[in-house]
Amino acid sequence: MAACVDRYANLVWSLARRFTSGGTEAEDAVQEIFIELWSSADRYDSTKASETTFIAMVARRRLIDRLRKRKREPGMEEIEAAVDLDTPGPAEATEVKDEAERAKRLIRTLKPEQQRIIELAVYHGHTHQSIADALGMPLGTVKTHLRRGLLRVREAMQGPGAAPGGEAVS
C-alpha cells in the first residue's frame, strides 16, 4: 500500500492543488480521493484504462464535485496561454510519465481548435460558457468540440495497441 501511495500521491496532490484553493481544502480533498480509491478499487478494469488514468479519473470526479459546490463564478476566469505539449515532463513516477506521454500522443491527433478547447475545459477547469465567451464562439460549438474531442480520445484509447502498457494510436 505504501508503494502505491508513493507512486500516485504526487499526481493526486497536484490535481487537488489545481482544483482547490490549496492548503487545508486541498488536503481534505486528497483524503476524500484516497478513501474513494480504497472503496472503489473493484470498479477498476485494466482492459479499459491504465491504473494511472483510473486514479486520475476518480480524483477529477471528486474534485469537480467540490468545485461545483464552491459555486465558481462563471465568466470571471482569465484564459491561460496554451500549454506546449512538446515540453518534456518533470521527473515523475514512471507509470505516470508513461501514461502522460501516451495521452500527449492521443491529443496531438485532434484538430488544434479541439485541443485548445479541451485544454481549457479539462486542464484549466473553465466552464463551457466561459470558454465560449473568451473565444467568441457559440456555446453549442464549444460543447460540440468537447464532445467530439473526448470521443476521439476515447476511441484512440481503445484502439489497437492502446491498451495500458502498449503504444497509443497516433
Binding site: Q31, R60, I64, T87, L146
Partner: protein
C-alpha cells in the same frame, strides 16, 4: 437531439465542468439507454488529457509528508475495518474479480483479502464458509457476546423531513464493530447523495470519525447497517448521520440529520 446524444452530452459535461443536481438526476434516469459505451469512458478520456497537460506544464508537486502519512493510516484502518462487515466477505474473495487483473490496485485488495483470511476463523479449517447470518442476527450476537457493547437510541430529529426517524446504534469498542438500526429515514438516490455516519470520539480527535456511507433503498421499513469506522473509536460520545455527495466526504458541512448521544 436523440436520447443517446443527450446522454453523451451529459457525460461530456460530467467529465469536464460537472453536472447540476437536476442534470445528474436526468442522467441517472436515462443512463440505461446508453448502449455503445460505458458510462465512465469520457471521464477516463478527460483524465488522460489532464495527465498529458499536467505533465507538459510541469505542475506535479510532491505531496507533503504529513498528508501522505495520514493517508497511509487511513488506508490501513480501512483495510482493517473490512472484516467487520461480514456481508462483504464473499465479494472480496470473488476469484473472477477484475481487480485481480490490475497491478497495484490489485495489491491493495490482495492485502485486504489477506487480512480477511487471517481474521476468518474458518479459513484455516474448513474451506466451506458457514451460511452468513443476517445483519439482524449479527447485531443481536454483538449485543449478547460483546461485554462492552452499548445500545443508544437516536434522539427525535428536528430536521424537517426526518422527524419520524427512530431506531438505535449498537457499538462495541472492544471489537470495533457496530450496527445502526433505522426506521423512517427517507430513501436517497445514491448517484446524487449518500448518507454518511460520523462517530464523535473526543478522546481521540476533535474531528469526527467517518463511520461509512450507506443507502436507504426504496420501500424499506427498517434497515440495519453495519458501521464501517475508518479509524478506531474507543470512546464514542455521539453517532450522527449527514447526507453527502456519493462516496461521502472527509469533513462534513452538515447538517446533522439524526443524532444518537451516548450519555443521553
Amino acid at each position: 437531439m436523440s436520447a443517446q446524444e443527450r446522454i453523451v452530452d451529459l457525460l461530456t459535461s460530467r467529465a469536464t465542468e460537472g453536472l447540476s443536481e437536476e442534470e445528474a438526476m436526468e442522467l441517472d434516469d436515462t443512463l440505461h439507454h446508453l448502449t455503445d459505451m460505458r458510462e465512465d469512458e469520457l471521464e477516463l478520456a478527460a483524465a488522460a488529457v489532464d495527465l498529458a497537460f499536467e505533465s507538459a506544464a510541469g505542475d506535479v508537486e510532491p505531496m507533503p509528508g504529513h498528508l501522505k502519512q495520514r493517508i497511509l493510516e487511513q488506508g490501513r484502518a480501512h483495510l482493517k475495518s473490512r472484516p467487520v462487515n461480514v456481508t462483504r466477505f464473499p465479494r472480496a474473495v470473488k476469484p473472477e474479480s477484475r481487480l485481480l487483473d490490475g497491478r497495484n490496485i490489485g495489491w491493495w485488495v490482495a492485502a485486504a483479502m489477506l487480512v480477511l483470511a487471517l481474521w476468518s476463523p474458518w479459513s484455516r479449517q474448513d474451506k466451506t464458509p458457514p451460511p452468513a447470518s443476517t445483519l439482524a442476527e449479527q447485531r443481536e450476537t454483538l449485543l449478547r457476546d460483546a461485554g462492552d457493547a452499548i445500545r443508544v437510541a437516536w434522539t427525535k430529529p428536528e430536521v424537517p423531513g426526518y422527524e419520524k426517524v427512530d431506531g438505535d446504534v449498537v457499538w462495541s469498542s472492544e471489537r470495533q464493530a457496530g450496527f445502526m438500526r433505522l426506521r423512517g429515514l427517507p430513501t436517497n438516490r445514491n448517484t446524487v447523495e449518500q448518507y454518511q455516519l460520523w462517530i464523535v470520539d473526543p478522546s481521540r480527535d476533535e474531528r469526527p470519525i467517518d463511520g461509512g456511507v450507506f443507502d436507504i433503498p426504496a420501500g424499506s421499513s427498517e434497515v440495519i447497517i453495519p458501521i464501517d469506522a475508518k479509524l478506531r473509536a474507543d470512546n464514542p460520545k455521539v453517532f450522527a448521520i449527514t447526507l453527502e455527495q456519493p462516496g461521502g466526504v472527509v469533513v462534513s458541512d452538515g447538517p446533522l440529520l439524526v443524532v444518537a448521544p451516548v450519555d443521553a
